[in-house]
């Protein structure tokens, strides 16, 4: 019954490394999202994608990029990881609003940048 999966639960990287976080959904959703979660700040939107190869910036895109080559897969890329990118990263997916009410979240990736 797994719907949204993320490639790693825990990840430790060094400053300056290029980091890839992968998200896969098996529900044929058009929309996919990357959020980061920090204590006291809630969830903040980094990037979203509404179709293959389409992407839009969210509220905090600086230092991140994304890739969506296939409908089911949405990747978040940290070009040069920094310590302030230590966080919990959550992927989500959904249908357009007319189709379905539900949003599905992945289990999260806790990234530590040393």
């Amino acid at each position: 019954d797994v719907k949204v999966t993320q490639s790693s639960r825990y990840l430790v990287k060094r400053t300056g490394e290029k980091v890839f976080l992968e998200c896969v959904q098996d529900m044929d959703h058009e929309n996919m999202f990357w959020y980061r979660q920090d204590p006291g700040l809630g969830l903040r939107l980094i990037y979203f994608s509404y179709d293959v190869k389409m992407k839009e910036k969210g509220d905090i895109p600086e230092g991140y990029s994304v890739s969506r080559e296939k409908k089911e897969r949405f990747s978040l890329i940290l070009e040069s990881a920094s310590t302030n990118q230590t966080s919990m990263y959550l992927c989500a997916s959904s249908f357009p609003r007319e189709t379905d009410l539900s949003w599905y979240f992945g289990p999260g990736t806790r990234l530590t940048v040393l």
């Binding site: 058009e30 929309n31 999202f33 959020y35 006291g40 700040l41 809630g42 969830l43 903040r44 939107l45 979203f48 509404y50 839009e56 969210g58 959550l90 989500a92 959904s94 357009p96 609003r97 009410l101 539900s102 949003w103 979240f105 992945g106 289990p107 999260g108 806790r110």
Partner: protein, 116 residues
């Protein structure tokens, strides 16, 4: 820009008591979500509220929506320890003017501790 404010951000209460978490949002939104998050876990969907006056209940939790006041509440009745968690509200907004892509803006969460 849609902003969502929750209060309180931290709540410690005793079992058996009632309490309410408030969620205000700044601009029109036609859908309001409530989620629960346990430590180290992802988000678990609790309620989706669609229209003014909507009320949904599941066990000891009841959520309501007043779109005119841009306010949603999550009421806890006769709290039990198992309800200890962080609760988030989130409002839906249109992100892409071409239609079809909506995003969720989240509140900062209410960290709820229920003590025996």
């Amino acid at each position: 820009e849609l902003k969502v404010e929750q209060n309180p951000l931290f709540l410690s209460m005793q079992e058996g008591k009632n309490y309410t978490i408030y969620c205000n949002y700044s601009t029109t939104s036609d859908r309001l979500y409530w989620y629960r998050q346990d430590p180290g876990k992802s988000l678990e969907s609790l309620f989706v509220l669609l229209s003014n006056g909507a009320v949904k209940q599941e066990g000891r939790l009841m959520a309501s929506l007043d779109t005119k006041a841009r306010l949603s509440t999550l009421h806890i009745t006769a709290a039990v320890h198992d309800l200890s968690a962080t609760y988030f509200c989130a409002a839906l907004f249109v992100m892409y003017s071409g239609g079809g892509a909506d995003g969720l803006t989240f509140g900062k969460g209410t960290h709820l501790i229920i003590q025996p």
